[in-house]
Symmetry: C2
Subunit: 364 residues, 2 copies
């Protein structure tokens, strides 16, 4: 008698922050709650939810988010069953979120296979994306490897992590699978050019498929300080007090640093996808549908002798651009951001300046 194939689970990591998307991104309105992907009017989390739903066991993904965002997540995803919302007592970066998802799924079904996906990326086309996730899940189930989504670089990005390809380990309907020799964190411009030219590197999509028992074993080995408190909470069936106690002890670290870069059984699926982590306003402009002058200007606003500009007016009040190039303007009721080309990362400096100037009211 053959056992049925393991059930496929998807966990959406919805714990991101909005720092780089100020002034529309706020503590209470993080990036995944914003519509930032071209003409898609859906908030990124909702688009992600709808994109992965067809893959999910029982038709529903898991969503991992900090308590503080619970209300917003429920409002955005009214059809998400309450028991599929995994609430973290506080935001503690991705290692904790991935561990918690793995523990919860493992408790529900020790044979399951799980893919964790960020809530706030651009990815297209959807069918190709789902085929890739399915292939990653199936390979993880079969081989016991941890699979990461690899993207063929289309330009020498300095804002992404790269994966060095090792030997091919499998062919799937969605692309070849390779061992990962090493991670290269955000490279310099010249190193990025070298990596892209060599064709031996993929972008790391931050999307991991694994058997929970496999991941937890890797965490046990490489991230014991983080896993042990969570393990204790699992033994108490994730009771809120137990989980809160665990989270106070869990280090805040990304799953890449904590586990993936050290794991010896890491593989990557080389997917052919249009992908972007939408890391800043620069990326938003890159993916938006521009007019022939390269401008993305909302209804009611004006671009006069302007080029490659993005205007976003949250309070509906018009913005007039005159004789500027490569400028992003974001207007809200209580702030205006005017950002130069390629300076998206520096929006975090505004957040710091606001903290220093005791204007936390503009960050909430």
């Amino acid at each position: 008698m053959s056992t049925p194939p393991p059930a496929r689970h998807v966990a959406i990591l919805a714990g991101g922050r909005g720092t780089r998307f100020w002034p529309v991104g706020r503590e209470s309105v993080p990036k995944q709650f914003l519509a930032l992907d071209g003409d898609d009017p859906r908030p990124l989390l909702r688009a992600t939810y709808e994109r992965v739903q067809p893959l999910c066991e029982g038709g529903q993904p898991w969503v991992v988010a900090p308590e503080a965002l619970a209300r917003g997540v429920r409002k955005m995803l009214p059809r998400l069953p309450p028991d599929r919302l995994i609430l973290e007592p506080e935001g503690k970066n991705t290692a904790a979120a991935v561990a918690l998802a793995a523990l919860r799924v493992y408790a529900k079904d020790a044979r399951a296979v799980l893919v964790v996906v960020p809530a706030d990326h651009h990815v297209a086309p959807e069918g190709t994306y789902r085929r890739a996730l399915r292939a990653m899940l199936d390979r993880a189930a079969q081989s016991g490897a941890i699979l990461t989504l690899g993207l063929r670089p289309t330009y020498p990005a300095t804002g992404y992590g790269y994966l060095a390809l090792g030997k091919k380990t499998a062919n799937t309907p969605a692309g070849a699978v390779h061992a990962v020799r090493r991670f290269v964190e955000k490279p310099s411009a010249s190193e990025a050019r070298r990596l892209v030219a060599s064709r031996g590197y993929l972008w790391n999509g931050g999307t991991f498929a694994f058997r929970p028992d496999v991941l937890l074993a890797a965490m046990q080995r490489h991230w014991r300080a983080g896993l042990e408190p969570l393990d204790r909470a699992a033994r108490e069936r994730f009771a809120p007090a137990a989980l809160a106690k665990a989270y106070r002890k869990v280090p805040s670290i990304s799953v890449d640093y904590a586990v993936m870069e050290k794991a010896t059984n890491l593989e990557t699926l080389a997917a052919r996808l249009d992908w972007d982590d939408l890391g800043s306003w620069d990326a938003v402009l890159r993916h938006a549908r521009a007019d022939r002058d390269g401008n993305v200007v909302a209804d009611g606003s004006f671009a006069i002798d302007a080029k490659d500009c993005l205007v976003r007016s949250e309070d509906g009040v018009p913005v007039a651009l005159v004789g500027v190039e490569g400028v992003t303007v974001v207007r809200t009721k209580d702030a205006t951001l005017v950002l130069g080309r390629g300076k998206g990362e520096d929006v975090r400096k505004v957040v710091k300046a606001l903290e220093k100037a005791r204007r936390r009211d503009l960050l909430r």
Copy 2:
């Protein structure tokens, strides 16, 4: 028995519009109602009033403004006697305003001498300025010439008119007086460089001193179509109906084009003044007190890696500049302007675009 010297009168022309200072400049809030001169918190009209007052017969200047601005002028200049406010039925450019001022002053005192000054320029220092106006008035009284304020160019401006200097006709305590050979309207950049290098040209300050009878005679000769309707209104003691009727017939033209460029008795006083017509946001930035990065950023706003930027937030809401250069940002409750360096003149294009888009609500 010697006759007393003629009384000195000053008329402030306050009929300007706010088109180039949108979105703070509006039909109801023209440029002269705005504070645009460096750290001076006074609206330009009020600063002009206080600057010329010490020169005036009876301690008070005349103010010429369209009816629509009457309330605003009275509020801004509460000490201006009602009979010193000359209201035009409608705005009809400077020829009509100057003619009306000359007729009103002549009716009051046929021996007077009058200087007409724009309400919306930057000029410093004040003492030097008043000495120059006094010298122009005295020379006009003595010689029967029309005097215009000439400024030594400090850079090859393309936005100003130039005066070609003829022979010297007088020395005054405030500088030499020369005949004006001709007017050069806003020159090209290369012509401007040539004019400035030649040292034979001054900027035309748009400030004219004359005996009203002399000016009216020149208008009778060069601008009869404009003067005759106004003359008829004068004979009816400027009764509102008569003036309204006259204004419907008066051509809308500048006093430079209508009269000054054709007058044969035009002279200029070469004044040593820091002068600017504050013609656009570019000029405002030029005269504002900047920080060491060249930024002029109001309280509560932020400039991060920004250079040579001007921020003005009328609703007190902060503006954050990040990685931009030479950009002017003006935020009001109902609009935001983002303007590139040297593009101040193009703000008028926004006004046109708003008219086309049926957003006249943003211009009122």
